[in-house]
Structure formats: structure tokens, C-alpha cells
């Protein structure tokens, strides 16, 4: 099958012309500044700034809480709106350019009722974007989850278009793409392996997070590097008003966050730590090898920011996390990510905002075992240095322009193995190097009051560099030639234009239609010869053999709000083509193999679906209902005789309800129910005997389905009463108990189905289902002061 897409460079070059289509005012002035939370000084991202006198005109704060709006000379009332906050009105007399720093206060319950009645946000209708899901970690704090560990990725898995990679897994698939096609950014730094403990937990500690946005399709041009989605996670800046402490004690882990001003209202820091303690119980064992074992992970998030003056501000953020498994002196296995970001915000002038970032990211794993007195040590890593420059330009209220460029230097250390074993030669796989660059320009433009378009173009470039080796393989994967390259010598280059366009037409005050087309390139690939994510999965660069993955997507949607924006409803449909997808030869050995590229086969994929979403964000009852109807298919010449087959994540129906109900001021109930079609899987369609063993006969790839999954989770959060003397004396101290039950009706969802010979009757074969979690209750105590 030939998969072609009607993208040419010409068709998108029209975009910049639209910029000129705005009316020209005689004399204009600019108000710029920031919007912050009054209580803790956190910058508010995406706060709306509306002009009361000119309905439909307005802007929003960027990722650093900065805004700029340019209007004709006159007197205006600016309204600063943010969901869950009291809208603040500020009168300005515009006869010169001016700066304005606004602080808004979190709405108290009673005021919220009144204010929100007047003006509920309708961003989902008005914005030019689509295919975007945004979650504020605070708003989903009471959702019941496995082991009581608040995990933002698990919550996203219950939104439309996002599928979990398996029961309890932090891996996810977006709109039929692979789990390695999601760009997960933590303060701009890519996180290469976002899983702890074989995937049951994500590396993101919700206490340290401010805002998480998932772009499922219409990735703005500022993002690049992955084919399916971008999950942009922003850490909190830290309380710039006073010392704040938040913590929690849970069943398997505890958390503590400390934030405080460095200089009040000028700078602040936050340190947030989490550690599991399952291994504490191991110490209770009488057996030495169990006692001396380790089984834990930890996360450490740190961030500091400082405002040097009105025009300059710097941020430093870092993340360190590690999993550690060890068994006495027999095995040791640890892995983790480290990221660091240094950012410099500079306000060039009222209309031009600049951010410069230097970003570091590293993922590595180490593995050692001791067999009969000899040690074998193994290690592998991937490391990035990224320099990035972004500008936001606000020429007038109808256009928000962003442009910038970045360059990443990747270092891949696929593996080194050392041993004092006599019969062992220390070996090192060839390191790999690559340079990845991108430049983009985009504009978010209101053309008329009801018609808006966000259009951008990204050019990305990839250079696979020496020192290193390149190989060629025959069509059976056997090496045919080998070439060596010197330092910085280019082995293979790729590049391409990535157009990103989405348009909105607002039908009326309550509804709009949107459409988008976009293309994304992916130059790094994750090799994983198993159906679940493992710490040992390896990232490889595009090379002379491995071509960049390309995803082209078209999508359209209808957005409608009901009851004065109390209910948001949307339906989106998409069709996606994926080129240069990767799969593996039978019995592929990817581990410690310099010539692993010979084990790869290449094909194409397509995915399509419809996503339905109803969300209620205010009132006593909040939550959402999500339904996704979708397919994800692959075609590989070397697999399944070239016939198109279902990708593992080809689950046709995905349904989720997430509900949170405020029973009283102190008691909040929550529940979610999920249902999905089972993953596509390969089961035998016969059997035979070789070497006296019964062997399953396979006929087609992923021709079967696992049983459907469904599950109910329930939870209750109770704020502790403030009656004691101590509590009254410490009014800032608040605490709560969260009790939750995962899989409340003990559904035995199949984690795996395998086949075996019956022990007593060798001729009898049987299917065995493993279910991981039946009822899992958990209790967490949370506090803040």
C-alpha cells in the first residue's frame, strides 16, 4: 500500500501573508506585565486578559506568566481571568506604554459561585488550537489511583485519544502512535524513560508540578522531535511570599516539598522529594540475601528563580530520579534520569519577550551481577545538551508570533561491559553522536472575531556524526559492509519541513468548529524487543539504515459548551499516517549488539479515530466522560506476509468516567470507571512437537485480542477537623486523609495470557491468564502549612 500525503512546501508558504491582514490603528500603546497567584506568587500560565470595552479582544499569559497587549489610545478595563480564581478588573488609561503586574486570588467557594456564573472560561471554544488536553495537578488531586500515588500520566490515560500501555503502566500511546513517539518535557528537558519500577509509576511527582499540557495532534511549531505528541510538564516556581511545606505519607512512598522566597517577591525556590520504602520491609526478613536487598526509587525536583530586574529573570531547574534494585551481592540494577534547565527570560521591549534555555538530559542504566566470585558490569546511557532560543512577539491583539531555534547534541553510549571473568573480553559498543536542530516561526492570529488560525512552520535537521561506524545489511539482516568515520564527520543527514496549521471558526458564543493539518519528524528511535517498556530499552539515532519516522495528521472537531460554559463538549476526528516505523526480525537480539540495526525491519502505519469528551470543571460535581473509537494498523513487508495488521494498541473502544463530588466542605468523594477493548495480541492457532516439546503454531501477527478490561476505582478525601488547640493556633496547617480502592469490584483484568503444557497430561495444552491487581486499597495522609 502506498501512503502519500498532500503536503508540499508551497501549500504552507501562504501562511506569513495572513499576518498583514490586520487593521492598522492610528496610535497604539502596549500594556505588558505578568499575572501571578496572590497567595504564593506562582506565575499563572494561560491566564486570559480580556478587554471589557472590546469583546472578543484579548490575550493570554505565556509559559512564564508574561503578557503583552497593544490597543489604541484610550481608557480600558482589563479583566484577568483564570479558572478557579476570582476575575480581577484593572482600569488602565492608555496614553503611553506601561507595565502591569497583576495578582489574582484563588476564588473562595462562595465567591466562585457568583463570579463564575458571570464569566466562565470558554477557552476550548475560542482558542485556535485543537487536540490539546490540559490538566492542572491540583484539580485532579482527589482522583483515586493505584497505591494512592497521584500520577499525572495515569490521569491523562483516562482522557480521549490517550491509551495506557497496560494495566498499571505509566507508558502511553497517543492517537495510535508508539509509546516512544511522545515527547515528554519537564521544564523543557526531554525525559527519556518516564517510568519507575518496570512502568508502574511515572517519574513525575505531582507535588512539584504546576501545569501539564498534552498536544495530541496540533503540536505548535515550537515543539519538535517526536511523531505523536508532546507532553509539556512545567514545574512550580516555588512560593515567593513565604515558606511553605507540603507532604504526604502513603502506603508505598512518602513525599515532602519545601518552597520559600529567596528574596520576597523577587525570587523563590522549591525542593520536592519522593521515595518509596517497600525495601524497608525487606529488612525485616531473617534471610540475609533478602535483608540486604534493595528495591526502591526516588525523585528529586528542584527549581529556583530570581528576578534580577524588571527586564530579566533567571530560572534553574533540575530533576534527579533513580530506581534501585539489588539482591545482596548477587545482582544490582539501577536506572534513572537526570535533567537540568537553565533559563533566562528577557523582556526586550513591551512587545517582544525572549527566553534562552540551556538544557541537559541524561538517562542511564547500570547492571551488574556476581557469578562465582567474578563481577560482570554493564552500563548504557543517552545524553543531550540543548541550546534553545525562543521569542514571543505581540504586535497587536490579533497576532501572537513565536519564533526561535535550537540545537541538540546527542551522545549515545549503547553499552560497555566489564568483567574480571577469565574467559571474558571487556567490550564496548561503538558510541554514537548526532546533532539535531530546528527553527520555527508561528503565528496565532484572529482574522475576524469568529475566525482564527494558528499556523507555523518548523524546519528540522539531523546529522548523524562520527566518530563511529556505519553498516550496510542485506535483506536478511546480515552485515555486508562496514565504514569508519572520524570525529565530527557526517555519516548521514536528514531534514525536512514540518507544517503545523490549525484553524477555528466560531459558530456562535457557545460553539466552534476547528480543523488542523500537521507533520512531525522523529529522528530518535526506541528499540524494545518486548511488548512492555523496560529500563534496558535503547534509544538509537537515525542513520543510513534507520530513516526518520514521519507522522502526518489531519483532524477536525466540533466544540460546544453548555449551560453558560459549565459543560464543555468536544468531538474530534483524526487520520494519521506514519512512515518509517520500526519492528524487529524474529528472535532479534537487540541487547549489546553493535549491529542491532540489522535486526530491524521497516514499515508504515495508519491510525484513525473519533474522540468524544464532556468535561465539567466547576461546581460540586466535577470530572469528565471520555470515549475514543479508534484503530491503529501497521504494514511491514517482512511481518505477517506483508498483510496489514493491528498494532498492539489497536483497541477499538476506550471509555472512561472520572467524577469528583464535594459532599461537604470537608469530604470529597471520587470515582472513575474505565472500559477498553483488549490489546491486539498473537495467540497460537495450532501446535506441534519438536525436541519433545509442544510448540505453539502462530499464523498471524496480533490476530487475536486480549479480553476487554474494565475497572472501578473509588476514593474519599477527608480534611481533618480544626478543633484542637494546636490546630487553632496554627491556622495555616491543613491536612487530609485520602483513602482509595483501586479495582473496587476485583475484576481480574488479564495482564498476560500465556500457554503451557499441562503438568500431568503432556498432550493437554492450556491457556493461563495472569491478573496483576485485584482490590488494592491504599491510605495517604497529606499535609500542608
Amino acid at each position: 500500500m502506498k501512503l502519500n500525503f498532500p503536503f508540499t512546501i508551497k501549500t504552507v508558504l501562504f501562511a506569513p501573508l495572513l499576518l498583514l491582514a490586520t487593521s492598522v490603528f492610528s496610535q497604539t500603546y502596549t500594556v505588558s506585565g505578568s499575572v501571578k497567584d496572590q497567595k504564593n506568587g506562582e506565575d499563572l500560565i494561560g491566564a486570559i486578559i480580556a478587554v471589557k470595552e472590546i469583546p472578543g479582544k484579548g490575550t493570554a499569559t505565556n509559559a512564564y506568566g508574561f503578557f503583552s497587549i497593544t490597543l489604541p489610545q484610550g481608557s480600558y478595563t482589563l479583566m484577568f481571568e483564570y479558572l478557579g480564581y476570582t476575575t480581577k478588573e484593572v482600569a488602565v488609561v492608555l496614553d503611553k506604554n506601561q507595565s502591569l503586574n497583576v495578582q489574582v486570588d484563588e476564588a473562595s467557594e462562595t465567591i466562585a459561585e457568583v463570579i463564575i456564573e458571570e464569566d466562565r472560561p470558554d477557552k476550548n471554544i475560542r482558542s485556535n488550537e485543537m487536540g490539546v488536553t490540559r490538566l492542572d495537578p491540583k484539580s485532579i488531586a482527589t482522583v483515586p489511583v493505584l497505591f494512592g500515588e497521584k500520577d499525572i500520566i495515569k490521569i491523562f490515560q483516562m482522557t480521549p485519544g490517550v491509551k495506557s500501555a497496560g494495566e498499571g503502566s505509566a507508558g502511553f500511546y497517543v492517537r495510535g502512535g508508539g509509546s516512544d513517539q511522545n515527547l515528554i518535557l519537564l521544564d523543557e528537558a526531554p525525559v527519556y524513560n518516564a517510568s519507575h519500577l518496570l512502568g508502574f509509576f511515572s517519574v513525575f511527582n505531582s507535588d512539584a508540578l504546576k501545569d501539564v499540557t498534552l498536544y495530541k495532534g496540533g503540536m505548535p511549531a515550537e515543539y519538535g522531535g517526536r511523531a505523536s505528541s508532546v507532553m509539556d510538564i512545567k514545574m512550580k516556581d516555588g512560593n515567593s511570599k513565604r515558606l511553605g511545606v507540603t507532604g504526604g505519607i502513603g502506603l508505598i512512598s512518602s513525599r515532602l516539598t519545601i518552597e520559600a522566597p529567596i528574596v520576597k517577591d523577587r525570587g523563590s525556590f522549591i525542593i520536592s522529594a519522593r521515595r518509596t520504602y517497600a525495601d524497608v520491609f525487606l529488612k525485616l526478613s531473617k534471610k540475609d540475601d533478602i535483608k540486604n536487598s534493595s528495591l526502591y526509587f526516588y525523585d528529586l525536583n528542584m527549581k529556583a528563580n530570581y528576578r534580577i530586574n524588571d527586564k530579566n529573570r533567571v530560572f534553574l531547574s533540575g530533576y534527579f530520579g533513580r530506581d534501585n534494585f539489588g539482591l545482596a551481592d548477587v545482582f544490582g540494577f539501577d536506572w534513572g534520569n537526570a535533567t537540568g534547565t537553565f533559563r533566562w527570560n528577557h523582556i526586550v521591549n513591551d512587545k517582544l519577550f525572549s527566553n534562552t534555555s540551556l538544557i541537559f538530559s541524561n538517562y542511564n542504566y547500570r547492571f551488574n551481577f556476581n557469578a562465582s566470585g567474578s563481577d560482570v558490569k554493564f552500563s548504557s546511557s543517552i545524553q543531550d545538551w540543548n541550546l534553545k532560543q525562543d521569542f514571543s512577539y505581540f504586535p497587536n491583539p490579533n497576532n501572537k508570533i513565536k519564533f526561535g531555534a535550537n540545537a541538540i547534541y546527542h551522545t549515545f553510549i549503547p553499552g560497555e561491559v566489564e568483567s574480571d571473568y577469565e574467559s571474558f573480553t571487556d567490550t564496548k559498543l561503538t558510541n554514537r553522536y548526532a546533532l539535531e536542530g530546528g527553527a520555527y516561526v508561528q503565528n496565532d492570529q484572529s482574522i475576524t472575531e469568529s475566525f482564527g488560525i494558528q499556523y507555523g512552520m518548523r524546519y528540522s535537521y539531523f546529522n548523524y556524526l562520527g566518530a563511529g561506524k556505519s553498516y550496510t545489511f542485506d535483506d536478511k539482516g546480515a552485515k555486508t559492509s562496514e565504514n569508519s568515520y572520524g570525529n565530527w564527520e557526517s555519516i548521514k543527514t536528514y531534514g525536512g519541513f514540518e507544517p503545523r496549521v490549525s484553524a477555528k471558526y466560531q459558530l456562535n458564543k457557545e460553539s466552534s468548529v476547528k480543523a488542523q493539518v500537521n507533520r512531525a519528524y522523529q529522528y530518535l528511535h526506541l528499540l524494545s524487543n518486548s511488548t512492555t517498556s523496560q529500563p534496558t530499552d535503547i534509544w538509537v539515532p537515525s542513520s543510513n539504515n534507520v530513516k526518520p519516522q514521519i507522522a502526518d495528521q489531519v483532524a477536525a472537531g466540533y466544540f460546544r459548551n453548555f449551560k453558560n460554559n459549565t459543560y464543555e463538549f468536544s468531538v474530534e476526528g483524526y487520520y494519521k499516517l506514519m512512515k518509517n516505523q520500526i519492528d524487529y526480525r524474529n528472535g532479534a537480539d537487540l541487547f549489546f549488539n553493535d549491529e542491532a540495526e540489522g535486526e530491524l525491519v521497516y514499515g508504515e502505519g495508519r491510525a484513525y479515530g473519533g474522540e468524544f469528551y464532556i468535561r465539567k470543571q466547576t461546581g460540586k460535581l466535577t470530572g469528565w466522560v471520555s470515549y475514543t473509537l479508534s484503530r491503529s494498523l501497521r504494514t511491514f513487508e517482512d511481518i505477517n506476509e506483508g498483510i496489514e495488521f493491528s498494532a498492539k494498541q489497536d483497541r477499538i473502544h476506550d471509555f472512561a468516567i472520572v467524577a469528583m463530588y464535594e459532599l461537604s466542605k470537608r469530604v470529597k468523594l471520587s470515582a472513575n470507571w474505565v472500559y477498553n477493548t483488549g490489546s491486539a495480541t498473537t495467540f497460537p492457532s495450532g501446535k506441534y512437537e519438536i525436541d519433545g516439546k509442544v510448540v505453539p503454531l502462530y499464523t498471524e501477527r496480533n490476530g487475536y485480542r486480549m479480553p476487554a478490561n474494565h475497572r472501578l476505582d473509588v476514593g474519599v478525601t477527608i480534611d481533618t477537623k480544626k478543633t484542637s488547640q494546636w490546630a487553632l493556633a496554627h491556622p495555616d496547617f491543613e491536612s487530609s486523609w485520602n483513602i482509595s480502592v483501586y479495582n473496587a469490584y476485583a475484576r481480574e483484568n488479564a495482564y498476560s495470557i500465556t500457554f503451557r503444557q499441562n503438568e500431568l497430561e503432556p498432550n493437554r495444552t492450556e491457556a493461563v491468564r495472569t491478573a496483576l491487581f485485584k482490590i488494592v486499597p491504599s491510605v495517604t495522609y497529606n499535609f500542608t502549612f
Binding site: D289, L295, L327, F331, F333, F369, A371, S372, F378, V417, Y421, E422, S423, F424, T425, T427, N529, T532, Q534, Y584, N586, G587, D589, F591, F592, T682, P684, S685, G686, K687, Y688, E689, I690, D691, K693, V695, P696, L697, Y698, T699, R701, E748, Y751, S752, I753, T754, F755, E761, N763, T765, E766, A767, V768, R769, A771, L772, F773, K774, I775, V776
Partner: protein, 274 residues
């Protein structure tokens, strides 16, 4: 060989994690499977130093069938020996075909032809030089994850220069280790030309065991078959820790499953003391 340790470790870790949940559960379930078309299966083994060659021809059955493999007794099975002489094997019943009184040497190519029901299947296999097993050693090992203590048995041999492919088979007190997951194949990618000391990692031996070990030298195609065969013969096949399962890579042409393998061997025996 490290991969195998790692896999074991990951699975052990998973077990540890799910025992935190205290309620992971495994159940035999009823499941409906499709009925694939019956296919021919050929297993032909030529061992260095043996005086006979045995080939078995069977057909696949439906997965939950309990009557065992369907024997094919009406095939014509021929083996072309290194000197181009053609030997016709006699049907012995239950799908077995055999020829006796042969001289089987290494560093030579053997060819198979099976004709049945107007179908012809052919295969060719090169028997490499044998690598001599120098000695065997045992070593005490403490049980891991609370398991029982056990003994490791090590193979010691001088690896030949160049890529070599091996399979280790063992018999414990006369019983062939033939459970799924007891297939041990390895290459010398990381220790080419060295003096190799490698354990039988698929089995934990006990005090008092009498262990017979066979070190097989395989051609690349035979190795490829046993490597991919080990993946599907394992009870882990289809679990999330493995790749999507597929039939083993066969060297038989004409559309049959199975393998025709010429294998050079070297044997040794060791007693683990009481």
C-alpha cells in the same frame, strides 16, 4: 548469556512488585482459538559420531487437541551424505524414519529431502568442527529470593577463533532436561577465542546429582532455529516481557515447520557430591 540473567531478574522483580499488591493471580482459563490449516513438521537430526540418522515427520494439530501430534508415516525420506551417497530412511511408525550403519563426520554438509502427498521439502545443514569439552565443574550457590540453595555446573572449553554457535544439553540422573525454558544456546560474540567457563543457567542442580553434559557446535542456521525455538517453547512466550511471538526460523524449504540440523558434539559427566 547476560540477557538471560537479566530476563530472570526482571521477572523476579515483577513478582516482587506484584507481591506488594499481594493479590496477583494466575488462572487457567477457557479461550477460543482459530483452527489453522494443518502444516507438515519435520525434525531431522544428524549427530557427529552417531551411526544412525533419525527424522520425524508430523502434522500440526489444533491447539487444544489432546491426542498428540499427528504422525505422517507415508513419506519418502532421503538423506544425501557428504560423499553424495543417498540414503533412504525406513519408516519406523509414529512418524519416525531411520537409517542405520552410517559413518557421520563433522565439517561436512548433509542434505534432506522429504516427499509426501505430492509435496517436496528439502534442507541442507553443515556440521561444523566439534569443540572439545575440556572439563566440567560444580559450584555451590545460595538460593536467591528466598529459594533453595543449589549447585551450578560449568562447562570449560577452549573456544575456536571465529564466530561459533553452541547449545548445551544436560541429563540429570539419566533424565534429559527437556522442559520449556531449558534450551540453552549461546555464541562466543563476547569471548571469541578465549578459554570459556560457562554455567548451565537453565537448571539448578542438587547435591548428589549425576550430570551428563553435551556441548553442541551448531551451524548459524541451526543456531538461529534453536534460538527462535527457545523463545516460543518457553512458557513466557506471549508475556509482556517478550517480543510478539512468531514461528521459529526454519531451514526447511517448501513450507514445512521444524529443522534439519547436523550437529557436532562433545560430552562429559560430573557427579555433584552429597
Amino acid at each position: 548469556m547476560k540477557k538471560n540473567y537479566m530476563q530472570t531478574f526482571l521477572v523476579a522483580a515483577l513478582v516482587a512488585v506484584s507481591s506488594i499488591a499481594l493479590n496477583s493471580c494466575t488462572k487457567v482459563i477457557e479461550i477460543e482459538l482459530n483452527e489453522a490449516d494443518r502444516q507438515y513438521v519435520i525434525e531431522g537430526l544428524v549427530y557427529e559420531g552417531a551411526e544412525s540418522i533419525e527424522v520425524r515427520v508430523t502434522k500440526t494439530t489444533s491447539f487444544f487437541d489432546t491426542s498428540g501430534p499427528e504422525a505422517v508415516n507415508d513419506a519418502v525420506v532421503k538423506v544425501t551424505m557428504p560423499g553424495s551417497s543417498v540414503v533412504t530412511l525406513n519408516a519406523m511408525g509414529n512418524g519416525y524414519y531411520k537409517a542405520d550403519g552410517l559413518v557421520i563426520t563433522n565439517e561436512a554438509t548433509y542434505q534432506l529431502q522429504v516427499d509426501v502427498a505430492e509435496k517436496t521439502f528439502t534442507a541442507s545443514s553443515y556440521m561444523p568442527a566439534s569443540v572439545a569439552l575440556d572439563s566440567l565443574e560444580y559450584e555451590f550457590s545460595e538460593g536467591i529470593f528466598g529459594g533453595d540453595d543449589f549447585y551450578d555446573v560449568f562447562l570449560l572449553f577452549e573456544d575456536a577463533i571465529g564466530l561459533n554457535y553452541y547449545r548445551a544439553r544436560a541429563w540429570v540422573n539419566g533424565e534429559y532436561l527437556n522442559e520449556p525454558g531449558e534450551i540453552q544456546v549461546f555464541d562466543d560474540n563476547l569471548n571469541d577465542g578465549n578459554y570459556i567457563r560457562i554455567p548451565i543457567w537453565v537448571y539448578q542442580f542438587e547435591a548428589g546429582d549425576s550430570v551428563e553434559v553435551e556441548l553442541q557446535s551448531l551451524s548459524p542456521e541451526t543456531y538461529e532455529f534453536y534460538q527462535t525455538f527457545a523463545l516460543v517453547a518457553s512458557e513466557d512466550a506471549g508475556s509482556p516481557f517478550t517480543a510478539a511471538p512468531a514461528n521459529p526460523d526454519t531451514n526447511i524449504k517448501g513450507g514445512a515447520l521444524g529443522v534439519f540440523a547436523a550437529i557436532a558434539t562433545s560430552r562429559g559427566v560430573i557427579e555433584v557430591p552429597e
